[in-house]
Amino acid sequence: MQLYPLKLVTVVGESVIMDDIAKEGVKLGATGYTMTDAAGEGSRGARNVLVSSGAKTQKVEFVVPMEVAEKILKHVSHTYFEHYACIAWLADVQVVRGQQYL
């Protein structure tokens, strides 16, 4: 079975911004995203506020090629890191039928 080497971008942050990040990720080239409710603590976690959808912290994941990953990480770090509670990282994954996500 052929597997395509792609990147998994994970962003965890306060839920007030996570819907926007998911949408912006798609605009920057991701073919989709997966969002999970979470809870967490960090250096600025107390900033999180309750939104009407419930969770204070959310995690969003994108399976993307490296260029898109870079774009998303740059965008997130430039737009949100200063004032919002959030963390972002990158990992290597092998994706089934990965050509769909290029």
Binding site: V16, V49, S52, G54, T79, H83
Partner: protein, 371 residues
């Protein structure tokens, strides 16, 4: 209209402070305090605080909390629409337009008074001042519900259209504070030459989100639904809906208990932040409530509200939002520290109003001559 009213106000304010201290009134306040505090709703709040402080195990699922919030907002709207329909059928808009205008005026005034005090007395940053002002410019539906049940227990039920005023008071304060904050920060940034990043482009988005947010959609939507169905349905067919939503009913009161338990749990956690936010904010949370409460009672009385109505209007003007405002402020003024605003709204002003504020506003309204 604003200027004469304001000078009026200045003439009135000092004697109030004196008068309110007479012995007889103080004992009356203490009495109402007891009558007010020793009821399940504030006691559940206290239980929540105690539980958090002793690291107890009560956990209200957030879905229950959100569901009750939805029910309370729908209920306030629906009953409001129902009463409005009765009022309208009897008096047209003659009794309503003045209180509505007064409320709108107060909704525009309170974010500004809050901002000025925070920025120039408290010397907070623009972002923090505007952020907190947005909370105090809006209102807390739960404070409304508690105040309403207080005046009912005191045999002085508020004018029937008070829920309508809650709806009117929800938005303008948030909008004004956010616009003010964004404008002043843009100016400051322009002066300093720094480039703004997040938040800026999101102002209009956030304003739209406030105006079409859950609180306002549910309250205003159910207000219309309550109004229309009162107009067109037979009383018998209407009854089960009324029983479900009515604010004197068991569901509303019972849900309020559970809701306040959860608020107590959250406020208990915030108590630890009181030290962090410092004495100014504590004083602000109480002082601004008293000032806004007095303004509410005063303008309510001017607009012709009854004793219960003045008390409830005072309470909602004095209250601070902790549901609709926080996400809006977080999106628009990310530099503002939410710990400050939420602690002030939830751990200072809310319990103050629930425990002491409401009976005090009741006395204020009495003293102003409301009946």
């Amino acid at each position: 209209m604003m200027i004469p009213l304001c000078s009026d106000l200045l003439a009135v304010a000092p004697p109030v402070v004196v008068a309110i201290a007479t012995a007889e009134q103080l004992s009356r306040i203490l009495e109402s305090l007891e009558r007010n505090l020793l009821t399940p709703i504030p006691l559940c709040f206290v239980l929540g605080i105690i539980c958090t402080r002793i690291h107890g195990g009560i956990k209200i699922p957030k879905e229950l909390y959100l569901s009750i919030a939805i029910f309370l907002l729908m209920s306030i709207g629906f009953v409001g629409g129902h009463e409005l329909a009765h009022e309208y059928q009897e008096h047209g808009v003659s009794t309503i337009w003045k209180p509505a205008l007064a409320t709108l005026f107060l909704g525009c005034l309170t974010p500004i008074t809050s901002f000025l005090v925070l920025r120039y007395v408290g010397r907070l940053s623009i972002a923090d001042s505007a952020g907190i002002a947005a909370h105090y410019g809006s209102t807390s539906a739960v404070t409304y519900a508690v105040a309403n049940s207080f005046v009912e227990q005191s045999q002085h039920p508020a004018n029937s259209f008070l829920p309508t005023l809650v709806t009117i008071l929800e938005c303008p304060g948030i909008a004004i504070a956010l616009v003010l904050g964004a404008a002043l920060m843009a100016r400051e940034r322009a002066v300093k030459g720094g480039g703004g990043k997040a938040g800026e482009g999101k102002l209009w988005e956030a304003l739209y989100e406030v105006m079409t947010g859950q609180s306002i959609m549910l309250m205003a939507g159910l207000l219309v639904i309550g109004f229309v169905s009162t107009m067109f349905m037979s009383e018998q067919a209407f009854q089960p809906f009324y029983d479900f939503f009515q604010s004197k009913g068991m569901l509303f009161r019972g849900c309020l208990c559970i809701f306040l338990l959860e608020m107590g749990l959250v406020a208990g956690e915030r108590l630890g932040d009181l030290l962090k936010v410092g004495p100014f904010l504590v004083a602000f949370g109480v002082g601004i409530a008293l000032v806004h409460g007095f303004l509410g009672a005063y303008f309510g009385h001017l607009a012709g509200l009854n004793l219960g109505g003045c008390t409830v209007l005072a309470a909602i003007v004095a209250s601070a939002s902790y549901i609709a405002a926080p996400p809006a402020v977080r999106l628009t003024l990310p530099e503002a520290n939410p710990t400050l605003s939420i602690t002030a709204a939830l751990a200072i002003t809310f319990p103050f109003n629930i425990a002491f504020g409401i009976p005090i506003y009741y006395e204020m309204a009495k003293w102003l001559g409301a009946t």
